[in-house]
């Protein structure tokens, strides 16, 4: 029992990541504005917030626009409810840029931003924009201490998928690596137990790969608009899965156990190197929609904030531990069956 602590740990970590992953609210953000066009003169717009508490902020609520470094404040501001606020802007006829960034600051939500929230219409975009009078007073300090996930445009609530999609692939790579080690050990020692363990590890790894594909597909539908897009990393992942399916076909198509173990081990080593190449290396050399390649940010501070990290790392360790646990159960079943045959 003392040796089994890691199973409890991984189960606990998964439970931890599930509860926190689904229970943590998203940080306040701006969902949208209507209309999203600002014209010369007065324009009234409705701003829709998400998880915001506009009514609580009361008079401290501040809304402003930034256009090429110039700040524009509304002449009228009405809070409709917690997530809606109406603002009326009066704008000059010449601005420095076509797009306006929207900022909202309040005591309860801190400062939230929507970049390029509005586009100008009927104004002159020039080098000498008219400067309005400075209007921004001291900003209310952001409330600290609330635990929430970052509210990113495009991602929104689906950012929680990071805690399931990425650990799936980490666990898959880890299990395939375990399978590789067993295959190498089989080739150097010719013990049938190592071959069975290698096949079991590849089996469990394949389960995680399929989980990764399914979660990734859902995520792609939400963020990129299609269940499957032609992206180097997606193609690499699909091919990785195909390679391991071929590994199982090879194993089952050879009748002789010793031979199927030997051929399987050779193909498994080959498969692992190729899978790593297709999933990890090649997508980094070309443009991809995934973070970390083609100029997209990876796990930096903009992408993965500290709150997400607190849940993400336990999820990775938990799912890898769960994979190893599954592998151990499968190995135990295989050992019992082997003994029964031998008896």
């Amino acid at each position: 029992m003392a040796k089994q602590w890691w199973k409890f740990l991984s189960a606990f970590l998964i439970l931890f990541s599930l509860i926190l992953g689904f229970h943590t609210p998203l940080a306040p953000g701006i969902m949208g504005v209507s209309p999203d066009v600002l014209t010369y003169g007065a324009t009234s717009v409705t701003i829709q917030g998400y998880n915001t508490k506009f009514t609580e902020s009361g008079n401290t609520l501040q809304v402003w626009l930034v256009n090429s470094g110039i700040i524009y404040c509304p002449y009228e501001l009405t809070v409709v409810d917690d997530t809606h606020v109406r603002a009326s802007f009066s704008l000059s006829d010449e601005v420095g840029d076509s797009f306006f960034d929207l900022f909202i600051n309040s005591e309860s939500d801190g400062t939230i931003v929507m970049t390029s929230a509005f586009i100008q219409s009927g104004m002159v975009v020039g080098l000498s924009p008219v400067h309005p009078e400075p209007c921004l007073q001291a900003l209310a300090p952001a409330e600290t201490g609330s635990f929430n996930f970052p509210n990113q445009p495009i991602l929104y609530e689906s950012i929680r998928n990071l805690l399931f999609h990425v650990p799936s692939w980490f666990a898959m790579i880890f299990l395939m690596f375990v399978s590789l080690i067993y295959s190498i050990r089989y080739l150097s020692g010719n013990s049938i137990a190592h071959d069975i363990a290698a096949a079991n590890a590849a089996h469990v790894g394949l389960v995680f790969a399929i989980a990764g594909l399914v979660t990734g597909s859902l995520w792609a539908r939400f963020t990129w608009g299609a269940w499957w897009v032609s992206d180097p990393r997606l193609n690499g992942a699909a091919i990785g899965v195909l390679i391991y399916l071929a590994y199982f076909v090879l194993r089952s198509s050879v009748g002789d156990d010793e031979k199927s173990a030997r051929l399987g081990a050779v193909y498994n080593i080959f498969a692992f190197v190729m899978m790593l190449l297709f999933v990890m290396v090649l997508p980094r050399l070309t443009d991809s929609l995934h973070p970390g390649v083609g100029g997209n940010p990876a796990f930096n501070k903009y992408d993965l904030d500290d709150n997400l990290r607190v849940v993400f790392y336990p999820a990775v360790i938990g799912w890898i531990g769960m994979g190893l646990w599954l592998l151990e159960v499968r190995n135990r079943i295989a050992r019992i069956e082997l003994n029964r045959i031998l008896r």
């Binding site: 091919i239 071929a246 198509s253």
Partner: protein, 221 residues
């Protein structure tokens, strides 16, 4: 060991030259496929179609050509070869022999293909890049298919298993090749196109190294 490799290549080339079995059947395969394409399309003006169809024909011909590299010998002769040469020398020899075979096959089928399907899309071609794409393609396919053929030769269902084991590995290589040669035919600058050559070379060298390391384990029976 290098002399063993040379001996195996010469032996394979000489038997091939005498029987012309592999060459003949592969060329028949290629010419028949191109002729079918010709009777379907007559002329292809669209570059992506032109280029992709060529590589698809080459892909299956390459499978056909290299599937023979281990099964053409009887098990007795294989055993005899084993007593004469180191397994590393055998696999290197087979890889180089396959590369030569596929190189000849790819270059001639390109000529036949261009002749029959039309040279319309080839106007702006960067000839050196295209030649590099064809050469790298032939060598890379030969290297990776040699190990797959060695694996499949040990089973009963040689050709079927070769497709199952080989296609997933070949697929990304083929995608890179198709992009590389399309850019070459489009006349896109080498400074843009070299990443594809680089990626392909990485896969090629890795697969050669893996074949070299893993083949001795396949060989013993």
């Amino acid at each position: 060991m290098w002399r063993q490799v040379q001996a195996i290549i010469t032996k394979d080339l000489r038997t091939e030259w005498r029987s012309k079995h592999a060459l003949g059947s592969v060329f028949l395969y290629v010419v028949a496929s191109i002729f079918v394409a010709y009777s379907g399309f007559y002329q292809i003006v669209d570059l992506p179609t032109w280029n992709t169809l060529f590589w698809i024909i080459v892909l299956f011909a390459a499978f056909n050509a290299s599937a023979r590299s281990f099964t053409s010998e009887t098990s007795g002769r294989r055993l005899y070869l084993y007593t004469l040469a180191r397994p590393e020398a055998v696999v290197l020899g087979k890889m180089i022999y396959n590369a030569i075979l596929l190189l000849v096959m790819v270059l001639t089928s390109f000529a036949v293909y261009a002749g029959m399907i039309g040279t319309g899309p080839l106007e702006n071609t960067d000839p050196y890049s295209l030649l590099l794409a064809l050469t790298l393609g032939a060598i890379g396919l030969a290297f990776i298919l040699t190990l797959i053929a060695a694996l499949a030769a040990q089973t009963d269902n040689n050709l079927g298993l070769m497709a199952i084991l080989g296609l997933p590995v070949i697929l990304p290589m083929l995608l890179i090749l198709i992009r590389f040669s399309k850019n070459a035919i489009d006349g896109i600058a080498w400074s843009v196109n070299y990443t594809y050559a680089l990626q392909f070379s990485v896969i090629m060298i890795l697969s050669a190294a893996l074949s070299y390391i893993l083949f001795p384990y396949l060989w013993r029976e």
